[in-house]
Every structure is written in C-alpha cells, then in structure tokens.
Symmetry: C2
Subunit: 220 residues, 2 copies
DNA sequence: GTAATTCACTAGCGGTCGCTACAAAAATCA
DNA sequence: TGATTTTTGTAGCGACCGCTAGTGAATTAC
C-alpha cells in the first residue's frame, strides 16, 4: 500500500486540456470543477514567495481554492506538485536566460542581456521577488527537493560556460579566457541579484549592478 | 566532527576558591550539568547547516545533548536561541568582513581581502558551507527572523558603502565613483559565493571568482 | 432508466511541531 | 539537619503537518 499516487494526467501531452485535439471522447466521470492551469499558477506564486517547506498543503489548498483531495488527485503529493511548479516556472518566468544564450550573437552579449533582464524580472511587482530556483528550496528538509534545484543552478552555470567555450573556439573570445570562472561569475551575479531583490533592491539598482558586473569581461 | 565525548563537567575537584574568575558567590540552586558555550556552538552548527525552520527543537536538544527544559531555561525559546546564535556566529565566524574594513588601508584592499577570505571561510570543511546570515532564514515563516537577517545583510552592504565613501572623500577613489553600486556589487559577490559554496564550488574556484570580481574597481 | 466512472467534501489519521507542568535531584543557606 | 533554590528528566499538551478513507455528487456509457 504505497502512498504513491497514480499520476493519471501528469503525462500531459502538450495539447490543450479538453478543447483541442482530443482522442474523440469526453472524459468519463464527473468533470473537474477548477482550472488546472490557474491552480498551478497560484501554486507557483505561493512556492515562489514562501519556498517549499514554508508553504503548507493547507496554504496551497487555500490559494488554489481547491480541497486537499482535489489537489492530490490533480497534482500528486506536495513534492511532485513542487516539481511541476519548478518546471512550469522555468517555462513562464525563467526562460529569459536560455533565450539570451540562444539568441544573442556572442556569449558576452548573452550574459549582458541575461543580467539586464534578471534585474527587471527579479523586481517585477507582478510576482514575488527574486528567483524561485535560487530561493525556494534552501534549508529544505527534503534532500531530493534541495538537490533538484541545486542541479538546476549548476546546470545553468554549465550552460553559460558552454556558450563561452563556443565563443573561444569561434575566436570571439581570447583563448586564454577562463570560461569556468566567467560562467561562475555570471551565476554568482544572478544569485546575488536575486537575493538583493528579495532584500529590497530596486530594478534600477540591479541594472547598475548588472552593467558594472560586465566590466570583468575581456575587451573584444 | 569529533566524536566528542560529552564530558559531564566534573565538579571542580581542588579548592573551589581559586577556580578561574568566579562571579563573587556561587549560584544558589542545582548547578547546570552542561557547558553553555559548547551547547551554543552545537546550535550554531545546526542552524548554519539546516536553517532556522528546518532545525527543530528536537534536533537542537539532540545535537546539544540536553533536554528541552534545559534548553528553554538556558536560552529562552527557539527564536531567542537563534538570535543568540546569529550574534555569536558573527563573532566567531563572520567577523572577517568587519576586520577587513577596519584594518585595510583602502576600501578596495578591504573588499579584496573580504572576498578572498570569504572564499576560504565559505568552503572550510571544519563547518557547514556558506554564510549563516545569507542562508539560515530564507523562506522563513517567522517574519521577524527573516527580517533580522535581511537587516544584517543590508547593514553589511551599508558598511562597505561607508568605507568606499570615506575613500572618495579622502581622495583614494575618484569622485565620480558610484559608492552604492560598488558596495552592492561586493554584497552580491559575497552572497553569490556563499550560494555557490553550498552548491559545491571549491575554495580555489571561489578565489578565482573573488579575484576577477575585483576588476570592476577603478584603477588607482 | 441503470451502471460505471471520476471528482468534491467532510472528517480525521498518525506524526511532528514548539513548548511546558510536574516532581525528583543537586546544590547553597540557615 | 531541614528549607530554599535551581536544574533535570519524563511525559505530554494543543496545534499543525502531509495525507487519505469514505461518502455523496456529477457526468458518460449502455
């Protein structure tokens, strides 16, 4: 008798819930009385603001406006809901970093844009301050959860490093550049900016920070 | 992590009269059976590693090797114990920043030393990684505790800023230097380094980070 | 219609949380 | 010797934690 919940719909095949390409038939039983996407967004905001541990299931059922059994049926247990929240956060709010790395012509331009956009994103009053990936699972008594976000942070730094190394190979950066150090510096700036946003720094202050931080890059 | 046998404080054997600096008269009731300083140190390490929320009173009584009533009698409730822990942490582990600001001849030298020593301190295997002030009260459901550490972080940045402004007045830094931005950058580096130490960065990696971070300072 | 299926709600499980009442134990004071 | 004062260990308080059994409501399939 595992506490395991059979994740009936966690596979979520990309298509709209029930409006679009459905395999012909309507679902069998009583329909859900809440919008799953909306409830998930509320969960994102709650975890973003208070972190994994400090957000209780009863907090979640309140802000998502559903009962506990509905939450467990729709999202699994607290930990799997948080995993989905982190994934969706990455799509809705954390994609600016990957976009900068993919779209800018050089690593330097990518990091500059990344920091500039982080200053705006982390201080946007439309949602909690800072970065969920940086703050939501620090001091977490569930090691897997803490490790999961740690992995994401380190993966982000590794992605920046790869982009820098690509520039070195392409000759856009000097061969003696320490790609790891530059990438780590960008990561530290991101994390420091997130912390300072939470501590009350303004967008303008973080933008100045982002700008002067770029002066460590070699002149090209 | 020594095994550390809990030496139940053998009651002073020779004449009690010449035993160290005694406060005038002996206390009236049954003497305490544990060393308060040692117990406090254990509490520091526990809060440092797991944070305020994730460290339960039962965790504390276990690592401090005392019963709950003894803990409450000696330190007050969990929150006031944490306050004392933070104070004592500042004295025992966090004083390198203030010392650098006080002892170095210039703000630049002070910040350079501060970052260099942070790289060593935050990765010292003799205690938990990173900085307690940065990490122990994020996502804390007791607002006063979270606010308290936030205040310390912002005060540290303000202290760096004051030191920089003093250098500007003294002519050791150009008059057009943005003291606030430079100080904020140092704070972001400290916080980013603390996070990366927790995420597994080595002392050498953080030292490189500390060094390149100093290149944002104007050449003097 | 009836059966089958899925969701919502109430109620509550065992466990841990921070904290404390209580009485025995160990010291000083008279 | 008591009487007093303080600490100690036991034992457990009420509140909240994550989570779920059980029952009835809402829908489709036959």
């Amino acid at each position: 008798m595992h506490p395991m919940v059979t994740n009936k719909e966690s596979e979520e095949k990309g298509g709209g819930a029930r409006a679009k390409a459905r395999p012909a038939s309507k679902p069998r039983g009583r329909p859900r009385s809440f919008d799953r996407e909306t409830a998930l967004e509320k969960a994102i905001l709650a975890f973003w603001e208070h972190g994994y541990e400090a957000t209780s299931v009863s907090d979640l059922t309140r802000v998502m406006d559903i009962g506990a059994p509905s939450l467990y049926a729709a999202f699994g247990d607290k930990q799997s809901l948080f995993e989905e929240v982190v994934r969706e956060y990455g799509v809705r709010y954390g994609s600016f970093a990957d976009r900068a790395l993919a779209e800018e012509p050089t690593a330097r331009a990518a990091v500059a844009r990344m920091l500039r956009e982080a200053a705006a994103e982390y201080t946007d009053p439309a949602h909690p301050y800072g970065c969920l990936v940086v703050h939501a699972a620090t001091n977490c008594s569930t090691p897997e959860v803490e490790e999961s976000l740690r992995g994401r942070r380190n993966a982000n730094i590794a992605a920046i490093r790869s982009r820098i190394e690509a520039d070195i190979v392409a000759g856009a950066l000097p061969a003696d550049v320490d790609a790891g150090a530059l990438a780590r510096h960008a990561g530290a700036m991101i994390q420091g900016m997130s912390q300072q946003a939470r501590d009350g720094a303004s967008r303008e202050e973080l933008e100045v920070l982002a700008e002067i931080a770029m002066s460590i890059w070699p002149r090209t």
